[in-house]
């Protein structure tokens, strides 16, 4: 049975990474837009982003614009391949389920 990535096993982080992965390579999302796309509170999204950043799945950048600052987020190549691996892992789990059910009956006969 394949092991699933614990970092994106939480639904919120999974959705956050999926959202970033729909962007074209090189594109970034601003924090408020990402919040809007995910329908999450700022605190919630910040917590998820911190964990994703620790795993090097996302790149969070802050730059100043006038008196305020803009935070933008992009998925890293590492994050993209982690998501792809996670997806493949889930599909393998699904494929494995019927085989696991069949296994005992075939040995019994």
């Amino acid at each position: 049975m394949p092991e699933l990535d614990p970092v994106i096993h939480a639904q919120g982080r999974l959705r956050a990474l999926v959202t970033l992965a729909t962007l074209l390579p090189g594109d970034r999302l601003t924090f408020p837009r990402m919040q809007e796309l995910l329908d999450m509170t700022a605190g919630n999204l910040l917590t998820h982003l911190r964990k994703l950043e620790e795993a090097d799945y996302v790149d969070v950048r802050k730059r100043s614009r006038g008196r305020s600052s803009v935070t933008s987020i992009a998925i890293t190549p590492h994050g993209r391949s982690a998501l792809e691996g996670y997806r493949i892992g889930l599909r393998q789990l699904l494929d494995d389920v019927p085989q696991a059910d069949e296994a005992p009956s075939s040995t019994a006969s």
Binding site: Q11, L14, R33
Partner: protein, 223 residues
């Protein structure tokens, strides 16, 4: 592995482990589709208003200022152009609002492409119109109207083709090529006929392209 109530409602917690693999794949698909819907404006709403503006505006121009100075419907002189410009301004407003709603908060190569493409429309028309105004002065009224219409529609066709090249969008390129080609046929046919051809082929083409790309996009997302 039935999910508990808490895991279904979980958005942020770590008890999401109780979701099944199938449910997780469904979460991924749903999020992908929801994001795409919000990041890509509906092509029908982006192209349709322009199609309606051309259909009505150029349609009325044809009815009022027909071929060989004929008048099919005795409308006030100002009405066809006023309708066309009102329609174009409305279409531009709708496109700008929808574009902003979809593309705001995205930074990087895509937004640079979009910005340069937007400026191409603005500067393209800015560069063409003073020349047309200068040349048009020398012409009889019906030929002057034809020059304005044909020049503006030709540039529109070219910009759609360029948009097709930028986003590797065959439908957008085909739309531009269709507009540019039918525009030339109209211009050759002369004043009056040009309005009819642009109304039907151009306006109709924009509407058809809007419907077709919307259908193609929905099918691609449903896959």
């Amino acid at each position: 592995m039935e999910p508990t109530t808490s895991s279904v409602h979980d958005v942020d917690g770590d008890d999401g482990t109780e979701l099944t693999a199938a449910q997780r794949l469904a979460v991924i698909d749903a999020q992908e589709q929801a994001t795409q819907r919000q990041l890509e404006p509906d092509p029908l709403l982006m192209l349709g208003p322009w199609g309606v503006a051309w259909l009505l505006g150029f349609g009325l121009l044809f009815l009022r200022f027909g071929p060989d100075g004929r008048t099919f419907v005795d409308l006030p002189d100002w009405l066809p152009l006023a309708t066309l410009f009102t329609g174009l301004v409305l279409a531009a407003t709708i496109t700008a609002v929808l574009g902003y709603r979809s593309y705001h908060g995205i930074e990087g190569p895509s937004s640079l492409q979009g910005a340069m493409y937007g400026w191409s429309w603005f500067l393209g028309f800015g560069a063409l119109m003073p020349i047309v105004a200068r040349m048009g002065n020398q012409l009889p009224a019906d030929e002057e109207g034809l020059l304005w219409g044909a020049a503006a529609v030709a540039l529109t066709g070219v910009l759609y083709m360029a948009g097709g090249a930028v986003w590797r969008d065959r439908w957008m390129f085909a739309l531009g090529a269709w507009i540019a080609t039918t525009n030339v046929i109209g211009a050759m046919a002369g004043p009056g006929w040009h309005s009819l051809i642009v109304a039907v082929a151009g306006g109709g083409g924009l509407l058809l392209a809007g419907v077709t790309t919307t259908v193609v996009m929905r099918r691609r997302r449903a896959r």
